[in-house]
Amino acid sequence: MSTESITWLLPLPPLLAFFLIVLFTNRSKALSHSLAVGAALLSWLGSMIVFIRAISTEHLGLNPFESVINWLPTGNTWLQIGVRVDPLTAATLFFVAWTVLMIFIYSIGYHNYGQPKGEHDKAGLQPHGATIEDEHGHKHVVPSIEPMYSRFFAFIGLFAFGMYTLVVSNNLLTLFVGWEIMGLCSYLLIGFWYQKPTARAAMIKAFLTTRVGDVFMLLGIAYLYTSVGSLSYTDIFKPETLQKLGSTPAVGGFLGLSAAALIGILLFIGTVGKSAQWPLHVWLPDAMEGPTPVSAMIHAATMVSAGVYMVIRMYPLLKVGSEAGHLSLVMSVMAVIGTFTAIFAATIAVAQNDIKRVLAYSTISQLGYMIAALGIGAYVAVVFHLITHAFFKALLFLGSGSVIHGVEHGALHTGEKVDPQNMFNMGGLRKKMPITFWTFLIGGFALSGFPIITAGFWSKDEILAEAFGTGHWVVFTVLSIAAFLTAFYTMRQITLTFLGKPRTESAQHAQETHWTMTLPLVILAVFAVTIGWAGISKSFPVIGGILPNFVHDFIGSTLLEAPEILTFNIWPLVASLVAALGGLSLGWLVYRNQKEGAEDPLKLTLGPIYTVLKNKYYFDELYNTVFVRPAYWVADTFTNQILDRGIIDGILHFIARIASNVGHVFRNYFDKPVVNGFGDFVGEGIKKIGRSIKVIQTGKVQQYLLMALILAFGAMFYFIFTFIQH
């Protein structure tokens, strides 16, 4: 099969799996997960074939695999959609395929396939566990299978379809289709346990917050389509098109921007929503309400990466207007927002106790890294970090799921009521869950940028080096501090969870999870280390140049002008070493002796700042007061009661009332006296006359005859008289 055909087919297996599960196989759990995993496997296979063909093609950046079809008739022309595989697509496909497949496999174990059904389990609630009796007559509570097992696989199938569609698209329209389908899936999956009020609130929050970005993005797409006449990347990125966009003022002279800048900002707002950048970051931590594989899916493999992918994809457009040493407006905005988000989210992550929330904020922070890096033009470094981040963050989420699962198992076993996600209820899991521990450690170190061996180091170092090399001091400093914080909270997490002694009974009885869960961890851990070796800068001391800098050469060729290689500088390396090692050791030092029931030492040190951080700078409360409540007031009170029922219906009723009153007036002063009066008068009059002359009707025939005679005579005389006169 040609590469183009395979690319067309890539998104289809998960979609088919979705439809088949929903329509036919949802009663059989085994069949459903086989279908879903089989579909993911097919797509994975296709992606690997495409990837291998892509890296073995010379000058793929100049001649990408591309195939288009006519989709929408628009006047004399067609809006074409199609698929395209260029280096960026190939690289994205690579990590998407791997992480998606791993998450699919992991989900089987996570949802307790093979376990008995719980007695009290209901659709829409987390399984409560099932009681079984062993051969000795002892009763045990064990984890029970998810009641909506099949539905979960259907939804993540659709999710994967959305991501594949987005990645293989050659145009913004189908990218947006995939983008929004993922939005729907995140909605459905965050609220997978929809009976929980918190989950229900989180699902809506996620969908609506990202939708704020989406509507701006839709405008951006419409604007771009208007200006270029096409949405395919090839057409948009033609140098003459870009130049035209850069020199045309924005529609309506908006803020004196160029068209390219306005389009860029509109599209970037889409990313702000989807990749949870400040100020639209609020949905992402709440999204932890979903099952953990979903968190991994949303926050590592697919959705948030999609936001970054989109800006990377549109980079040539965003770059329009920047010259050497001078960033274009969109890029400056990105650099500011990204940098701010990176440090902002990192500080919040420090004060979180929920194992998944720490990761959620770290995701926001890392995405901020990427946005900031793209803002300063570090194109290759961003893609590199996107890939490494996808692997190690997927690993961390799946690992945290494994931890939670293990602790839940302990909680069910002991019957203890503890929050299985609170890190202060854990500790000492290193011995209980060795595979999870080691893989989590690798993931955590990769996230912190542990030098040389982990992938995160290479990608993060490259970002810092770019920031330093291009002279963006503020970005460099802030990102370095954020890196330090990242290392600190990661080590805090690892120490609290795995090291020391168990702080609860549940942690004491935690158990290593099923192989379907640990196998993906191991595979992802391998990538979390090795993938970094593909992008070691040639100029790095000692080991630079041993391996080819594949990432730079391959990804860089996506752009028409390949980005230049920075010369090596010692300072960013020092900064990243200090941040990573310093943060890690500080985290270990602070938390290694955490006792059962003891306060967070950070709380004692930071005091009120800790409270602010713990409450995420009160953004939820702020938005609730400033946006949510007023919106509801406008909808319910203003629009409904005042505008529609009050004013508009009021005017209508007023008119109706006038009509009704005019009618009354007519009735009382014209109809009744004049029209009715005349009719009555005629009727009554005739009646009266009849009554007065009825006396002549005696019934006596001879009287009638006499009357006739008299009248006849009268007539006769009259005629004779008149006759005589003539």
């Binding site: 009825k694 009707q697 005696t698 019934g699 006596k700 025939v701 001879q702 005859l705 006499l706 005679l709």
Partner: protein, 102 residues
């Protein structure tokens, strides 16, 4: 030859006799007879005028025959009505037949 006026005077007298009978008699049959007399006086007039004025045409005779027919029909219907009333009310007095007044 007898002049026309004689016939006319005779017819007028006959008409008045009939009219008198119609107006003053109480018996419905007598009233009917009075009507017959009046009709016949008309017939005399018709025939007389025909004979003296236009003996070549047949209009006068035709009129007279139509009047005969009308008279015959009238008698037939009138007698039938009177008999019917008599059967129900045992009376042929015209003044008693006042059911149709308001």
């Amino acid at each position: 030859m007898i002049p026309l006026s004689w016939y006319l005077i005779f017819a007028a007298i006959l008409f008045c006799v009939g009219l008198y009978g119609v107006l003053v008699r109480k018996n419905a049959i007598a009233i009917l007879m009075g009507i017959e007399l009046m009709l016949n006086s008309i017939n005399i007039n018709l025939i007389a005028f025909w004979r003296y004025r236009s003996p070549d045409g047949i209009a006068g005779q035709a009129f007279a025959i139509i009047v005969f027919a009308v008279a015959a029909a009238e008698v037939a219907v009138g007698l039938a009505l009177i008999i019917s009333i008599y059967r129900r009310r045992s009376s042929v007095v015209a003044e008693d037949m006042n059911m149709l007044k308001w």
